[in-house]
Point group: C2
Chain length 299, copies 2
């Protein structure tokens, strides 16, 4: 049974876990720590955990479950900091968007502990302690990527924990996770960051024009491109091979479309655009997005 959870890092994800526990699993005690004193102060005011501690060592004391909610590039250092204070039987988990690199970093820092990497596929473009909310994980998938020799009982405990917070849990191989998320999350972010950057750097079209006429599609990309810069820098550096692999596929397909436009091959364009329309229907049918037009924006 999980009696106490320590949350290391109190941004959007860490804060939402604290609030979700308070709402859905009030019997679980929580302690939270963030390296930034200003974040700790806000976390205290917002009640993101029962105890906001002055060190991560203090937060993890007696915790059955420690969840590292820091950028994936900071996992190893965060794990080393708490190594000596952890309960020997504690489950160490995280919420990072790349899983092979995290498994490696945590195994290196904590060779004698049970490490079960996790990735709740949920978030918004906001970040920081004020961005969290209790229902962030409701009906979202949380992917666990336990190593083959992980303690099955502990995997079940972690799975139950995420289910309590409202998530649906799936087990997956870390390598496969990294490939799936490269295409469903990392590449979409990369191309959104890119086009927003391209648009703001043009000489022929002013930045104010780009913003003014953004309702034609561009504004959707600005939302994604507003996500946390440090988190995303780390994701790309830590899921490099899957991201580069998927980027190669994307670029090939884009080049083919470029050729179709140049040669006036309308059939190729029409065929693709009809296929992609069907995918949207599946996303909505499977409850992964609202059916309301334009994301239900107020018109």
């Amino acid at each position: 049974m999980i009696r106490k959870v320590a949350i290391i890092g109190l941004g959007l994800l860490g804060g939402s876990i604290g609030l979700a526990i308070r709402e859905h699993a009030p019997n679980i005690a929580t302690a939270g720590f963030d390296a930034d004193p200003e974040v700790r102060r806000k976390a205290q005011t917002l009640g993101l955990a029962q105890h906001i501690t002055h060190s991560s060592v203090e937060a993890v004391r007696d915790a059955d479950l420690v969840i590292l909610c820091v950028p994936v590039g900071a996992m190893e250092a965060a794990a080393l900091d708490i190594a000596d204070a952890l309960r020997p039987d504690a489950i160490i988990s995280d919420v990072g968007s790349s899983k092979q690199s995290v498994a490696e970093a945590l195994s290196k820092a904590l060779p004698n502990h049970t490490i079960i990497p996790a990735h709740p596929v949920a978030g918004t473009e906001q970040s920081g302690p004020e961005a969290g909310f209790a229902s962030l994980f409701a009906n979202r998938w949380c992917i666990l990527t336990p190593h083959g020799d992980a303690d099955a009982a502990k995997v079940a405990l972690l799975s139950d924990f995420w289910t309590q917070l409202g998530a649906r849990v799936e087990l997956m191989d870390a390598e496969h996770h990294d490939l799936v998320l490269a295409v469903t999350s990392h590449i979409p972010h990369l191309i959104a960051f890119t086009i927003v950057g391209t648009a703001s750097d043009l000489e022929e079209v002013t930045r104010s024009e780009v913003i003014k006429y953004s309702a034609g599609g561009f504004r959707d990309f600005t939302r994604i491109a507003a996500s946390d810069p440090v988190m995303w820098r780390d994701v790309f550096l830590n899921n490099k091979s899957a991201v580069l692999e998927m980027l190669g596929r994307f670029t090939e397909d884009l080049t083919a479309l470029q050729r179709a436009i140049r040669s006036g091959d309308g059939d190729t364009l029409h065929d693709l655009f009809s296929r992609t329309r069907a995918i949207r229907r599946e996303v909505v049918d499977q409850g992964q997005d609202d059916a309301a037009p334009d994301f239900g924006r107020d018109h």
Copy 2:
């Protein structure tokens, strides 16, 4: 004064114009035509225009303003159909997303008429007569691209018309329009269509996984990639040079990021991601998108 508007093409845009006139300018008479009898039947039921006619010739009779709401590739044929039935002083306009090609097509088909191309930068991913709504143009920009020698009084009339429907009007050179919209609308659509296609074609990641984990960013792209295939095919074929120019810039920038990822250059990534975050704030500050996190999706 505009007393009667003829709407040719009763999809999302044409239907919304009809409904917006009914709501905001009830003194203006409306006639509507669509080449598809099923669309005409639905338009009749939905009241998209006062008179749904059996031919475009019938619809434009006595109209002061004729708005062609057909895919940009179909403009010339639609204009030729009505050429002999138009009032000599009628204003001929449209709602197409590319303006140089439309200006050319309409001038060719109707050399003796006043042509004022227009582009309301508004829409959703839905299409067809049932997708329209009266407030589609509220607070959205409508760009008019009159030729230099266009009758100023008629430009003012058309401008007033769009203002009545709730839009904000801007005049622009057609060539510049095509460049601005290439970057704020056409390229975003093209890359959304591409990534959704790429994701659904992978061997290593199943289509059901792509849909299941789409909340990580991909689902935003599926919305855009659900837009009308014929309309978008025509946009790319008719704004070819601006689209290819902007696509070249995008590809250069993407290649630079690819290199940064490969070489582990985190500073380049972080710098870009911080800049793009600022653009989002401007989009929201200028009322071009809601401030609510995640587009205000229900969590």
